[in-house]
Point group: C2
Chain length 730, copies 2
């Protein structure tokens, strides 16, 4: 089935100076059209002049450490909350940085602590008046006077960061010893902007062979606060939090732009900061908007400069991506030519593939060409099996690419490490061909899916499409769910509570899914106190919509129910206050049900939600555990709802989810065609190409039958991780 | 070891007319001094004149159904919340009683619904103005006008009860067919009081042989709302809730007495009512106090009348006990001569034994002389083993009676049922002798316990001493814990958050235990937002106190911690918002620890609390599960604290608890004497009698060693459920 078009193109190879023969040889075998450098590698002249396109990585905020050292007042800053101290007398002394990694943070004492810091009595939750505490510059301590004995006190304080986090992580992990500690500079100062643009211009002049400047990424890293104690090294890490974008200048500009002032507590938030996983406040979202506006505006100047030099600008959708917001309305204004995402899973492939406003979408596949993986496991060294790793990652990505294509794939790291692994080299050759073939099927075509969209309803909506903060968080219901969803034959979009309240539910949506734990950004929190939101969805279901709730959908401790949509779901959760209330004694139906028809044995959602109870006899429970329903269905008006007590991405649960979407949207028939009998296999049908692609997601041989409209099912026998392409006329 | 004094007295036998020989024979063998009637049995003249004291049961509020039927406006009432109805148009019709058992409830429409009922939009939580709804007397429905479409509406409404719940339960369970439905009358009306006193006087005159009037109990039953649907028969049941004490007259009198008016929502409370398990509101506690005052005042008149006839008055600490409050300050004012409690477990024995202000404390043991037990299992019929049942109940009661005696024990039910079970008859003979012997050891003596009291800290404090609402609620941490505690050699008292805030911590307390789930009356709820409470306990621990927290101690979603005493416990709980925060990587110590020294294998607390994290390296984790600490200890100032993730009453956990109390109160040595090596066995030493009592709580043979001060341990070999008495000089 290999054709010429599957042999070359759309592949980025990490080249390596000193291994020119290997680089060019593999570029040929893998059909590369582009060669890139990586962290720790350079490209030689022989490579850059070999006729391939050249990607060069560039991180503008840590590009020149000499300038950073000479301009310490231009380093990036953030707020921290000190660890609490219990007052034993009426005077409490707090060393704000105690417990924090002093190689990452230094106190910012140039900006007046009395203006920018806050002290809190965390026992009462009240702020201590500025008159009742002092900062002692000599000792670096805050002294709280008039403390209430036995109350707990904390300080919110500003720090400058003296070690850029990605550099710090690589430095410490790889034991780089006395190599320089890179520092991130703050682009909001005019001087910094001037420096960056000058630097970039010089860089562009010095890199004539570069075709694509691959920004890693723009200006602000995701938040990563380190601790002093090796037992608490990562005090706080959040891939989407804007904590590291704050400083007095930005706060003043925010006040001018938005008409009100933020405080340190808006960032510190009782020590929880503004984790992407938690339902965001309005004030924090204003801050995100303010930062995004700046990042796009200044970022655009950088991209324009790249374009002036006849090069393309790609952005890496990781690391310093904060403020970039590829799913934000302003993203198109950057003028980027491409976006590159490092991916382990299917949902990340969709996350990259779905970014609007950019021409080229590229995946950086795993394994990275490093001796060890992210968790320290061997990859390209003795004991590793990188070919198997590559297969396992690929089958997760591949099912997502069946649904939505990307334009390119690539690898990263030290190319010379692959030499002792000829089976890896062989597999990548196969993989690149498979990729090109699948990409081809999407041209002028769209794989079959049942009509009607599935909307994932969260606090973030479109802004965090296909994301639950960073890579997969195992056990996080929505994250597991979007991984299942990434390869299902359904059209997906992400909508927010605000969208529903302000604009209603788009008419092409047939299913809404709300999934996650109470108070999270995914399930939502106080938004569910909004009667308009509850009424909108209720009305929409009554008129025929389908609602799927997972874990603690629509949950908030409010009113006479915990799930605010309990009347739709037919179940609610007892969080402890209902001990004296009877529970309806449901019985599982004796017959089968469309949703669970492919389920063999017990449903397993991992660590799911317990203490679910049924409202009355109109709810049908399809699965339960110790008396707590795990799958329940109910009709409401013309619509339907399904409740799942959790979700773990497994072949069986992906199928359950697909069938639930089919049932809840009243599309059982449409959901039953182009469907594989064996849950370890999946398929996609491209009607214009008349191609049926069947994939085996497992590492063992599988037989499967595919249902086809108006004829007998087709049979297929697939090797481990295998693929079959059938020509099917309908 | 049997002596004469162990052969007779302190035992109440249920007699039965028609079985006079059996009655008098067993009275002799079991050493009864008193014969009683039971529900469904009567005593014949031959029995009542046989020289034994005679108990007669009497329930004043359901004593004369003819009067009740003729005075339906004097029946007891309560509020109910209708099941919610979703508005599909701007007018919603609600049948308030829909889903409720119409043989129990009828609408009270004589008191103006507009004055006494409330309608709520439960989607917004707001009350619907009275002008916007109507009650239609013809249809018995409430019509909400101007409803917001797709919002949920409920009605709080008043009902009269036409079937007294205990009578209803027995009637339906035993299929009594067309036997009369007894109705409970409301004693707050002057006419009812007059009727009751007249009735009682007549009754006393007609029962010359009765020595003791055993009231079952006073006027108000615990709350028990039944449903129409057999799958939801018990909509709400709470052994301590005052829901069934309300009516317009009482509400008006409350307003006069307390100076403010309660609403229906104070009772309905979003459909959660005022379950004993949930942290009570101030308004509800005012209501309890108001009702208690009335019950004691009118109850006193009844007791006085009994005394005028030369009889004694005992009260049953179950059924219609609401308003009696044996641990309340007014209880002594009733003038009762005795209190009787039906018991399954050790904590219930302590609950009865500890009631102040009354001379005689009596336990009604299980099994009840009925063909089947409470859950329908066979007892006195084929397939039953009542002798084994009696042993199993007795060993749980016995360990409590080692710590605190009661004056009497007894049985209840149909005596003739025991005839086919001679081993039961034999065992009761042994049991009564064992009881009398143990009772004797308490005379002028007190079993050894380590110095310093253990205080159980809850929202209810003393008022709910040794109670978590009714019989054992399996899995309820505090209930399981007080069952363990009931037989431990420690002195116990119950204190409330109010006690601590208003009066501080009594000086004889060395250990405070706070146990339960967030928001419960046991762990507490919003009380923990009170900085004075937090500071008091913090100071007390800093100065040497010991704090034990179980499950979610001091928990409330407030400030920068979930456990408000996290700084003492050294652990806190992540309820979901800390996904981005790192967790301190604790390590279990390699050596042994005093608390876990008797623990073999893993700790098992049943369904305990997860997602616990450690604050820092000063916390020592002694047991964990999947990374979540189950037992953790920490020092704070001069004091100590222990955290347990839950409690299930098992021999091993009772020992863990005892050792934790010893460690946390700095009394390891005092806690290690008069201690059994084998956790299946326990002992008590009575220093004045110089008797060491060793009990085997298990159904198998056990060997054990008892540590004794200044000498070698004593060894004992005990048969199943056995007891050994050793004379020990110290």
């Amino acid at each position: 089935m290999k054709t010429d078009s599957t042999r070359t193109g759309s592949f980025t190879l990490p080249g390596e100076a000193g291994y020119e023969d290997l680089t060019l040889n593999l570029a040929g075998r893998w059909g590369a059209d582009t060669i890139r450098d990586s962290d720790g590698t350079v490209l030689s002249d022989r490579i850059t002049s070999s006729g391939y396109d050249i990607y060069s990585t560039l991180c503008l905020v840590r590009s020149d450490n000499t300038w950073a050292k000479a301009n310490r007042d231009k380093l990036q800053q953030n707020y921290l909350m000190s660890f609490p101290v219990v007052a034993e007398t009426s005077e409490v002394t707090i060393d704000p940085l105690k417990g924090y990694f002093r190689e990452q943070f230094v106190l910012n004492t140039s900006d007046d602590p009395k203006e920018w810091w806050q002290v809190f009595d965390r026992t009462t939750g009240e702020e201590v008046p500025a008159a009742d505490w002092n900062f002692d510059a000599d000792s670096g301590s805050v002294v709280v006077k008039k403390a209430v004995r036995w109350h707990k006190y904390t300080v919110n304080f500003l720090v400058s960061r003296i070690w850029e986090e990605i550099s710090m992580y690589n430095h410490i992990t790889n034991e780089w010893g006395d190599r320089d500690h890179l520092m991130a500079i703050e682009p909001r100062y005019p001087e910094t902007q001037e420096f960056i643009l000058t630097y970039l211009k010089k860089w562009l002049e010095e890199h004539p062979h570069t075709s694509v400047v691959r920004f890693t990424s723009m200006f602000y890293n995701f938040t990563w606060f380190w601790g002093d104690d090796p037992n608490l090294r990562y005090i706080y890490s959040d891939w989407g939090d804007y904590e590291m974008t704050v400083n007095p200048l930005a706060l003043r500009e925010f006040e001018k732009a938005k008409g009100y002032r933020l405080t340190s507590e808006d960032f510190v938030n009782k020590g929880l900061y503004n984790s992407t996983h938690n339902a965001p406040s309005r004030r924090y979202r204003d801050w995100m908007d303010f930062v995004n506006e700046f990042v796009v505006k200044f970022g655009r100047q950088c991209v324009d400069l790249v374009h002036q030099y006849g090069k393309k600008a790609y952005v890496f959708y990781d690391d310093h991506w904060v403020g970039v917001e590829p799913y934000g309305d302003r993203f198109k204004d950057f003028g980027f030519d491409g976006i590159i995402k490092c991916v382990f899973n299917g949902f990340e492939a969709r996350k990259c593939a779905g970014v609007p406003g950019v021409k080229t979408h590229e995946l950086r596949l795993h394994p990275y060409l490093f001796p060890t993986g992210l968790k320290g496991e061997p990859t390209f060294k003795e004991g590793g099996n990188p070919a198997l790793d590559a297969r396992n990652f690929w089958v997760q990505i591949r099912r997502a690419l069946l649904r939505q294509p990307v334009d390119r794939i690539g690898l990263g790291g030290y190319l010379h490490l692959v030499e002792p692994f000829p089976d890896f080299i062989d597999y990548i050759e196969l993989l690149t061909q498979e990729f090109r073939m699948l990409k081809e099927y999407h041209v002028d075509d769209k794989p079959y899916s049942a009509p009607g969209k599935v909307a994932i309803l969260t606090a973030w909506g479109k802004l965090r499409s296909w994301i639950c903060s960073g890579h997969l968080t195992p056990g996080l219901d929505l994250n597991e769910l979007i991984e299942s969803l990434a390869g299902l034959p359904v059209d997906v979009e992400f909508i927010s509570f605000d969208d529903v309240v302000e604009r209603g539910i788009p008419s092409d949506i047939k299913t809404i899914i709300n999934a996650g734990r109470v108070g999270s950004a995914w399930s939502g929190g106080a938004d569910w106190k909004n009667a308009k939101l509850v009424a909108s969805i209720t009305e929409w279901v009554a008129q025929g919509g389908g609602f799927i709730g997972v874990a603690e959908p629509s949950a908030v401790d409010y009113g006479s129910q915990f799930f605010q949509l309990a009347h739709l779901l037919g179940v609610d959760r007892d969080t402890g206050g209902r001990l004296a209330l009877g529970k309806y004694a449901f019985r599982k139906p004796s017959g089968s049900h469309f949703i669970t028809d492919d389920l063999t044995g017990e449903a397993d959602f991992g660590k799911d939600v317990d203490n679910i109870f049924v409202l009355d006899g109109e709810t049908t429970v399809l699965a339960e555990k110790e008396g707590s329903p795990r799958i329940a269905v109910r009709s409401f008006g013309k619509g339907r709802s399904v409740y799942f007590s959790g979700h773990k991405c497994t072949p069986e649960n992906a199928r359950l989810l697909h069938r639930a979407i089919g049932w809840v949207s009243d599309s059982e028939a449409a959901c039953s065609i182009w469907q594989c009998s064996n849950v370890e296999t999946e398929c996609a049908y491209y009607p214009n190409h008349k191609k049926l692609v069947i994939i085996n997601n497992s590492g063992t041989v599988q037989d499967t039958r595919v249902s086809v409209p108006d004829r007998e099912p087709l049979e297929a026998h697939l090797p481990p991780h295998g693929i079959a392409i059938l020509n099917v006329e309908t």
